[in-house]
Symmetry: C2
Subunit: 235 residues, 2 copies
């Protein structure tokens, strides 16, 4: 079973066509034919079943046969993560976070960041592919790279956490997440947040947290944080 | 801070030398010199601090200056996972499981496995590197590839789980893990376990479990399982 994506779909759509790339994929690669059923999401909570009425590999058209609204989860997990030096490690994080559950991702530049540029379009593709793969109706929102200092000036609601490795009093993330509540978690670069960054985040209402005693890589810490929030919120 | 590895170390070691590869790494790559302090584990619970007394890049020798015994955790997590079709996804699992916490890993061949060979030596390197990176004193045990049917004939103790996607009554893993107790978790290949495999595992005492509602890739399911067990056991 496969999930397709079309951002333009609404609850009123009855007929529509895929763009040329998705059409080619459906007709040429997956060899779907007239009357085959497809499952499609708009990434905003709608799941539509549809039947192919024209298997044109440049413009595959379908007729909507059913529609389901997937309710959003009550919590909103916003992961704010310093991109890793090795780009593939950050892409792993994007893929795994999407599979496990994340609503919004903001890459941030920190004082000790070695990577200061990202490939936003490529990252969006990774997230989209992971959403389809894991059969979800909501596409996580990816924001553009922003300096941490600037991010911390923005208003934020719900529970705010900063995971760092400095030796100071910290709470355990798993005991601090509040179910059904918006949650923002900051994860630093390979060299950790600077003391000044940690102090500033705390002054802005971020609670310092730890996630166990092992020293985790940036992308591992981010995945453990997503899993922790998912576990506390799912059932 | 870096952690080094030498499997030969015991509580009685007072002087020893690294092999040529590790010596070259310490002296040539990391440019450590006479009198520099190193932290070394034997992967079996010992953490030794030691001082370089000969910075020979072919045979770096050290004198032990301190020794610490890290107590093993009471639980023993054994992950039994079908290697993924793409090898890098399985290596990613090995790295992340080691960082997050795992004691033993057995790759298994299932009915729907597409990959039927593994690179044991390469996998051991990934695990060793992740152990050093995450500053742990225990090296996870990696077993050789074995057919699932054969694995299921072996005696197993503690809590036994099989995570699968078939539509049948399942328990939630997070509510089923018993703290401080040995735990074995089976994770299937891309196409999932077959019904026959699931039935056989259940007949051997494995409890069918789910890990939330998202459809997870093999390596993601395995990491979510490790994180769940770590969260329940750490404090």
């Amino acid at each position: 079973m496969q999930l397709f994506y079309n951002a333009e779909l609404t609850g009123n759509t009855s007929l529509f066509s895929f763009d040329s790339a998705e059409s080619k994929h459906i007709v040429k690669v997956l060899r779907r034919k007239i009357n085959d059923e497809l499952l499609i999401t708009n990434g905003k909570g709608l799941m539509l079943s549809a039947k192919i009425i024209d298997d044109n590999p440049k413009k595959c058209s379908v007729e909507v046969t059913g529609i389901k609204k997937v309710h959003p989860q009550k919590h909103w997990l916003h992961m704010v993560v310093a991109p890793t030096k090795m780009n593939d490690r950050f892409e792993w994080f994007l893929e795994k976070a999407t599979e496990i559950g994340v609503n919004e991702i903001t890459p941030v530049i920190c004082q000790r960041s070695e990577r200061k540029t990202i490939k936003l379009e490529r990252y969006n593709k990774v997230i989209l592919s992971a959403m389809k793969q894991s059969f979800q109706a909501y596409l996580p929102k990816l924001n553009d790279l922003i300096p941490l200092d600037e991010f911390l000036e923005k208003p934020a609601e719900g529970s705010l956490f900063i995971a760092h490795c400095e030796n100071m009093e910290k709470y355990e993330l798993k005991r601090s997440v509040i179910p059904d509540s918006p949650t923002t978690i900051l994860i630093g670069p390979e060299g950790d947040f600077s003391t000044a960054e940690i102090k500033k985040a705390i002054s802005k209402g971020y609670m310092p947290v730890s996630m166990g005693k092992n020293r985790l890589r940036t992308e591992t810490a981010a995945i453990v944080a997503c899993t922790t929030v998912a576990m506390i919120n799912n059932g």
